[in-house]
Amino acid sequence: MCSMNSRERVLAHLEGRPVDRLPVMPITMQFAADLIGARYRDYANDHRVLVEGQMRVAEDFGFDYVNTMSDPAREAGDCGAVVEHFENSPAAMVEAQALLGDKTVLSRLKIPDPLGGGRMHNSLRAITLFQERLRGDKLIEGWVEGPCAEAADLRGINTLMLDFYDDPQFVRDLFEFCVAMALRFAREQVAAGVDMIGVGDAAASLVGPHINEEFVWPYEKKLVDGLHALGTRVRLHICGNTRFALANIGRLGCDVVDLDSLAPLAEARALMGPGQVLLGNVNPVVIVRNSRRDEVQTALAECHRHAGARYIVGAGCEIPRDTPPENVRAFAEYARSSSP
């Protein structure tokens, strides 16, 4: 087979065309910042640092893509939510001062301009810089928060969990706002040149099948369809145990379903059908960080066996910052040593 570059490999794999090896797309953020000796605060707030970190990881460890993700607070922060920025770890929402602590604020809340100089704009600048430096060699992935995760950021995650029962209409209105904001942000990312948008919907793993069916799935579907209408591809990642929702996730139509380690890949394959591209899902702490390189490779082989040919090599979630480099190299080594 002719040699292909990383971007061509991922795109061919997503389209079901032959590839020379499996694509490799684990999530790195803090690991990337540490690799270039950057403070995480700078990685998350200065697009040049993020680009440098992502490119170094991709080059040093043979990853096929770069991404713009750093923390879940970009969109909420631009909305005016209180965000705590730590010196060397990811920014986090301050729930006690949640922007929508008072529900009536939602009716007055405006979608911020992604080009308005905030942290969303910073992401867009990263995409532009990736374009200049990569010149089509690696796949560029942007990022938006999913409806449940973004709603949790704006309302407070504990309060949102009660809102599902206390005020269902408010939740629907809030999810509507979150999808509209994600699509507005995504439109600019597509214009800046991303090949794919990652959707992170972490809080969605906290609710059960009933709430997933009634609230989460319809808005995730609206988001995924909206992203496709923008002409981009979609990777969905939900931190935590999504075993109860695998069939629904399979009906979203995502180009890549990126599963955390608690969701069995074999079940996902059975429920989502043979065509769904699955990514993951080696336990990031117990295996990727705490085990030996050969154990990482064995775990990847197991994932590959369960997922079958429509598989992308990755961990269940972010590769932890203090993971031994040889364990991170194991991802690309596995991909090179096995055929899809």
């Binding site: 803090q30 705590e84 730590f86 060397n88 770890s89 990811p90 986090a92 929402m93 301050v94 729930e95 995650i157 504990n158 969990m161 009660l162 599902f164 029962y165 906290l206 609710v207 059960g208 709430i211 931190c239 935590g240 075993r243 109860f244 990031p284 702490v285 117990v286 960080r289 705490n290 932890p320 910052r321 203090d322």
Partner: protein, 213 residues
């Protein structure tokens, strides 16, 4: 004798108003406060925990039940204190320094409270010094540390070391939990216990309380 099964059901379903009203009725009818807690509220929260572990309940349902339990407990607690009834144990809970994530910690606090423990919730981003102050002030015998991030896991070790330095390590059992935490990590840092979920944390605390009794 009034029928209190509806109180059990109200807590289970997360109906705070009904739980509170039924508790008021029970106390007015002369039922002992400790009976309300032990016969109805604790069993209801035990069932909530069982359903959570079996994936019949998820986080919203658990928080809803905890809210109902708290609404009823607010009426009962002052009476228990007045009559000198001791809780199963006193637990100081908090998310460790540098970490603002609290939903797991909140689930543990709610389940412990529902299990008959007195809970002092210090919130998030809690320094070792604050944990120590709270243990001293409340004469607590259990400390429950939570962390969601791998980057804040070292703060658990630092907290345990601070208890050693303060000469309090032997007076408290220290339990740890959170998404990246493992039994091995708990062992490595010298914690007394680890649980992967909130009901498990209650079991750990109850085992400790039984041994201490």
């Amino acid at each position: 004798m009034i029928d209190m099964k509806p109180l059990y059901e109200a807590v289970l379903k997360g109906d705070a108003a009904t739980a509170r009203a039924l508790t008021e009725q029970a106390l007015a009818s002369g039922m002992e406060p400790i009976t309300v807690v032990k016969e109805f509220m604790v069993p209801a929260m035990d069932e909530v925990g069982r359903r959570f572990e079996c994936n019949e309940y998820f986080v919203p349902e658990l928080l809803l039940a905890a809210r109902a339990m708290k609404a009823a407990l607010e009426l009962v607690r002052p009476l228990l204190v007045k009559s000198g009834v001791e809780p199963q144990g006193r637990v100081v809970v908090g998310t460790v320094r540098g970490d603002l994530h609290d939903i797991g910690k909140n689930l543990v606090a709610a389940m412990l409270e529902g299990g008959g423990f007195e809970v002092v919730d210090l919130g998030v981003n809690v320094t070792p010094e604050k944990f120590i102050e709270a243990v001293k002030a409340k004469n607590a015998n259990i400390v429950a540390l939570s962390a969601l991030l791998t980057t804040t896991m070292p703060a658990m070790r630092a907290t345990i070391e601070a208890f050693k330095a303060a000469g309090l390590r032997d007076q408290v059992k220290i339990f740890v939990g959170g998404a990246p935490i493992t039994q091995k990590f708990a062992d490595d840092i010298g914690a007394d216990g680890y649980s992967e979920n909130a009901p498990g944390a209650v079991t750990l605390a109850k085992v400790h309380a039984a041994r201490a009794a």
